[in-house]
Amino acid sequence: MFNDKVIEHFMNPHNAGDMDNPDAEGTIGSPVCGDIMQIFLKIEDNIIKDAKFKTFGCGSAIASSSVATDMIKGKTIEEALKVTNKDVIDELGGLPSQKIHCSVLSEQAIKTAIYNYAKKHNLEFEGLKGFDPNFDPHEHHDE
């Protein structure tokens, strides 16, 4: 069902856990839909210096977040915003079709964190155009 890379990231996730004084935080999902994803970012000079996540979600959500946080570290915010769930899946070497929404979850959590950061600092990012923080990945995934 899952490839080795997914399993590896699931069992030994990178960037998992709390962050002291994050510059940005984003949470998506809720207990009602069964998944919750939280992203913390350290941002300095428009660059993502550090990223962490916490989740109550399935293995693919954990693996996706592990990879996604790896991918955005060191990137500028605009660059980070370009990381799509498709990129995350490619990096993981594929996910079963019924698990695609988990990768969407991590993409959305990152965007939400940046969205909150932009709001707080009154910034605008090209990559956030049309982004809706209340987006529910469960309604959109196709199986």
């Binding site: 996730p13 207990p31 069964g34 109550f56 399935c58």
Partner: protein, 389 residues
């Protein structure tokens, strides 16, 4: 790596003695039991013998046992049969909120064609209340169908009392005993059961064979029409090796019942005690004692169930989130909902079911692994910190 199978309620391995009994019927004694010649008669006699063993396990007479393709078919037949056969008497069926899907979806199907279904509530342990049942019976009630022992949380219903009640009200009583069979005493006469569903693959027999007990006083319309097999009650060439295997499994189940129950109960207690000792914020779902000997259903709050199952799987451990039929789609269980477990806890619940081949060492390995998982993933759970931190 150690492999530990803790999903005996989903299905069981076929025991060696059972397979040995089946083998000759594939390549040697392959006769069609309806055939008049020697090979046919041999198969027919073997079927009679198996039927008797199954009857013995539940206190029935052999003609009351009709083989089906499994528990699901038995459930479908019992409920639809009573419904269609008693339309003139009434259209009301009583069941519970904690039935297996085979029962629930059959009832939903009947509801679409005009039957009225009452789904009884259960208490926090998964028990129905006899008072509720009594109140629900009305003059249109044609059937009460209540699961003997629940497949997710293991709760065993007061079947004898229900049988007493339905008998006094002149209403037919069906019970899905797929999980109960071999795991608790069943006597259809003492318990006033009219119809009872069984499945072979839950008692170390092969998959694809089951049976419906039909009390000889009950006239049940046929569900699968065709040849004159099974006393003209269920058509189709008999699954001879399957029947023989089921028979052997039933015989073993009867012989071993006491030791089996004792062993599984001990393993269950051991497991539960250890978990409570080693992990905080866990709870046991279902009834503390009136439960299947091998059933352990626990909530490990703040750890998502699928995460846990995946990690266990990677460690060679097979467990499930509830009923196997729905575990491909990880949804909150209707049974946990019925006993009042909140959604996030339902999603953190795992069913472990021990069986005849489980050892204490297996359980130690599993317990250790669970401790690792819980520590690991609670750390990264948004809820856990919020509430504990």
């Amino acid at each position: 790596m150690r492999e530990v199978y803790l999903d005996y309620s989903a299905t069981t391995p076929v025991k060696k003695e059972v397979l040995d009994a089946m083998i000759p019927f594939f390549t040697e004694e392959y006769g069609n039991p309806s055939s008049l010649y020697k090979k046919g008669r041999y198969a027919k006699a073997a079927i009679s013998d198996a039927r008797k063993k199954i009857a013995d396990l539940i206190g029935a007479t052999d003609r009351e046992i009709i083989f089906t393709s499994g528990g699901t078919e038995a459930d479908n037949w019992a409920v639809k049969g009573v419904a269609y056969g008693n339309k003139h008497k009434g259209n009301h069926i009583i069941t519970t909120k904690t039935e297996h899907h085979a029962l629930l979806h059959t009832c939903e199907h009947l509801a679409e064609s005009g039957f009225e279904i009452t789904y009884l509530d259960v208490d926090q342990y998964g028990m129905i209340k006899l008072e509720d049942l009594k109140k629900a019976i009305n003059e249109k009630t044609i059937l009460v169908s209540i699961i003997f022992a629940n497949n997710e949380i293991g709760t065993i219903q007061p079947i004898k009392e229900i049988g007493e009640l339905t008998k006094n009200h002149g209403v037919l009583f069906h019970t899905d005993a797929v999980q109960a069979l071999g795991n608790t005493e069943i006597n259809v006469k003492d318990m006033n059961i009219d119809l009872l569903s069984m499945s072979s693959h839950k008692i170390y027999g092969p998959k694809g064979i089951g049976a419906l007990y039909i009390n000889k006083k009950v006239k049940l319309p046929n569900y699968i029409h065709g040849g004159a097999q099974e006393y003209q009650k269920r058509a189709g060439t008999e699954n001879v090796p399957g029947v023989i295997g089921f028979g052997k499994a039933a015989e073993l189940a009867k012989e071993n019942m006491e030791a089996h129950i004792k062993k599984l109960t001990e393993l269950r207690k051991y497991f539960i005690d250890k978990i409570f000792e080693k992990i905080d914020t866990v709870s046991l779902n279902g009834h503390p004692d009136k439960r299947l000997p091998g059933n352990i259903n626990m909530t490990f709050s703040y750890v998502e169930g699928e995460t846990m199952l995946l990690y266990l799987d990677v460690q060679g451990i097979s467990a499930s989130s509830g009923s196997a039929c729905s575990s491909s789609s990880f949804e909150a269980s209707h049974v946990l909902k019925a006993i009042g477990i909140p959604l996030e806890n339902a999603l953190s619940s795992i069913r472990f079911t021990v069986g005849d081949f489980t050892t204490k060492e297996d359980l130690d390995y599993v317990i250790e692994t669970i401790v690792t998982i819980v520590n690991k993933y609670r750390k990264i759970s948004p809820y856990y910190n919020t509430k504990k931190g």
